[in-house]
């Protein structure tokens, strides 16, 4: 992708709430309508941005009126929120969780740490650009974005789902070698975290 500085970056980072809709067929329209009206968010706070998730989902800035509620397991979730910085340790677990979710799945990235490293730009243990490792649907700017910003991000994500443009899971499946190469460059040959019963009980575990 060619980058000519600021303009190109703003276009890829901003969700546009004023564009016109486009859908392929009526069955697709119906499916996307149902998908955007009911969003299950995995209850997994990956970074310090998770502090803004409880106010968004509870009484003060009620996100349930948009149809958004929490899900307990990755198998039941549609959206995973990467809220903040990803250290290497967290990135391993996020990748495994993301691959456990069933299609169609969306990824919402909060904060400036996912865009370009944010406050931890010179840290030896965090990644700087989340797009190299996992496909992102919508960025929400801020450090941390306030609940109003998160709600606006959800509304923009709903609009994109309704138009059929939020297809990051397809991008992950088609370009899997690219993502895997980047993941291995940072995490080593074995990207999956090593927890099984033997490791936990006998090799010392935690």
């Amino acid at each position: 992708m060619e980058h000519n500085g600021f303009l190109q970056e703003q276009k890829t980072l901003e969700g546009d709430l004023n564009s016109d809709t486009s859908h392929k067929s009526s069955v697709d329209f119906l499916m996307n309508w149902f998908r955007k009206r009911s969003i299950f968010v995995l209850a997994y706070g990956t970074g310090c941005g998770a502090i803004e998730m409880p106010p968004t989902f509870t009484s003060r800035y009620d996100a349930e009126r948009l149809g958004i509620r929490g899900a307990a397991t990755p198998r039941q979730a549609d959206v995973i929120i990467v809220s903040g910085y990803c250290s290497y340790k967290t990135l391993r677990r996020i990748i495994r969780t993301y691959e456990q979710m069933s299609n169609p799945k969306y990824l919402l990235a909060l904060g400036s740490c996912t865009v370009n490293g944010g406050m931890y730009w010179d840290s030896y243990n965090t990644i700087k650009k989340l797009e190299d490792y996992l496909p992102v649907d919508m960025y929400v700017n801020g450090c941390m974005p306030r609940p109003e910003s998160i709600l606006e991000g959800f509304i923009a994500l709903q609009k994109e789902i309704g138009e059929g443009k939020a297809s990051s899971w397809q991008k992950y499946e088609e370009n899997y070698e690219f993502y895997r190469k980047n993941q291995e460059a940072v995490l080593g040959e074995k990207v999956e975290p090593s927890y099984d019963a033997d490791w936990y009980l006998y090799d010392g575990g935690l």
């Binding site: 499916m31 149902f34 009484s59 003060r60 349930e64 397991t73 069933s102 299609n103």
Partner: protein, 295 residues
């Protein structure tokens, strides 16, 4: 024609069950000083899960689990007549009575246990063992109350019990009603007896490995089963119903009563709930039984 009758019963149970769940979310939201989702939100949730693709497969019993639960829910619904007299919406109640319905009520947790056990997810197994333990304690006060009602009405046919009440059984034999109500709160999955599917504790227990269409089946069967149990309680204790409006009103009042309990109380642990259910409601139901059948 009986087939149209059955189909309409299923449709009504599906629609009203999901409507009640949506109302439940709205009412709980108002308790918590916020506006909730639109009333048809649960329906949209279940339809969305039909459009999800699957990612796992754990063998044929994993597929069979939700199917057993769904068939259990539908069979229970068919054997409970909606109205206390008349032929419309009576389903198959001419061929089975209250004993059969009580047996069919167990098919829910049983199908759950069979399906979840094959997945191998430890949280699922944990949730299922809790569910079966709780079921064993929950059935006792409910069966005592129901059998008392059966012997007092002199019949095991639900329509006869419903139409034979001059005053509602809930007011004529209040202790029996209270004993059965405790179990009913647990059957509806409300606090304080909702330890089975606790999302925060045990990662939603039995539902933790199901994704996509299985989850849609689980949610649909939950809606249908809820409506069937509500209609059963209305016929046993609240005098049945002779029209749609009366049926919807009575089930709604009972539903509101149950979820008000649920949103106010905390959650019992499994041994605590078994302990409580085997002591307090059982004693109340036995005392009610003795008082009612003494003379």
């Amino acid at each position: 024609m009986i087939v149209i009758d059955l189909f309409l019963m299923l449709l009504v149970a599906y629609a009203v069950g999901f409507l009640y769940y949506g109302l439940y979310r709205n009412i709980t939201a108002r308790f918590q000083r916020r506006f909730g989702p639109p009333v048809w939100q649960s329906f949209i949730d279940s339809v969305k899960f039909f459009f999800k693709e699957e990612s796992t497969s754990h063998g044929w019993m994993f597929y069979l689990g939700p199917i057993i639960m769904m068939s259990g829910a539908i069979m229970t619904l068919f054997f409970i007549p909606f109205f206390s007299s008349g032929d419309s919406f009576s389903g198959l109640s001419a061929y089975g009575n209250l004993f059969l319905v009580l047996y069919l009520l167990v098919l829910g947790p049983l199908g759950n246990a069979l399906g979840v056990g094959t997945a191998g997810n430890p949280f699922g197994v944990m949730g299922v063992t809790r569910g079966l333990t709780r079921l064993f304690a929950m059935e006792l006060p409910f069966y005592i109350a129901v059998i008392a009602i059966m012997s007092l009405s002199g019949s095991a046919d639900i329509a006869t019990i419903a139409s034979g009440q001059t005053t509602f059984n809930a007011f004529a034999y209040p202790l029996l009603f209270i004993g059965a109500l405790f179990s009913f709160i647990g059957m509806m999955g409300q606090a304080p007896f909702d330890v089975v599917g606790a999302p925060v504790e045990v990662y939603s227990g039995p539902a933790s490995e199901f994704s996509g269409k299985f989850l849609a089946l689980l949610m649909s069967q939950s809606a249908i089963f809820t409506f069937a149990k509500l209609v059963l309680m209305v016929h046993l204790f609240l005098g049945g119903a002779s029209g749609f409006l009366e049926l919807l009103l009575k089930t709604f009042v009972l539903f509101i009563l149950v979820i008000s309990f649920g949103s106010l109380y905390g959650r019992f642990k499994t041994p605590q709930s078994v302990d409580f259910l085997l002591k307090v409601p059982t004693t109340i139901a036995v005392v009610g039984l003795i008082l009612a059948t003494w003379s």
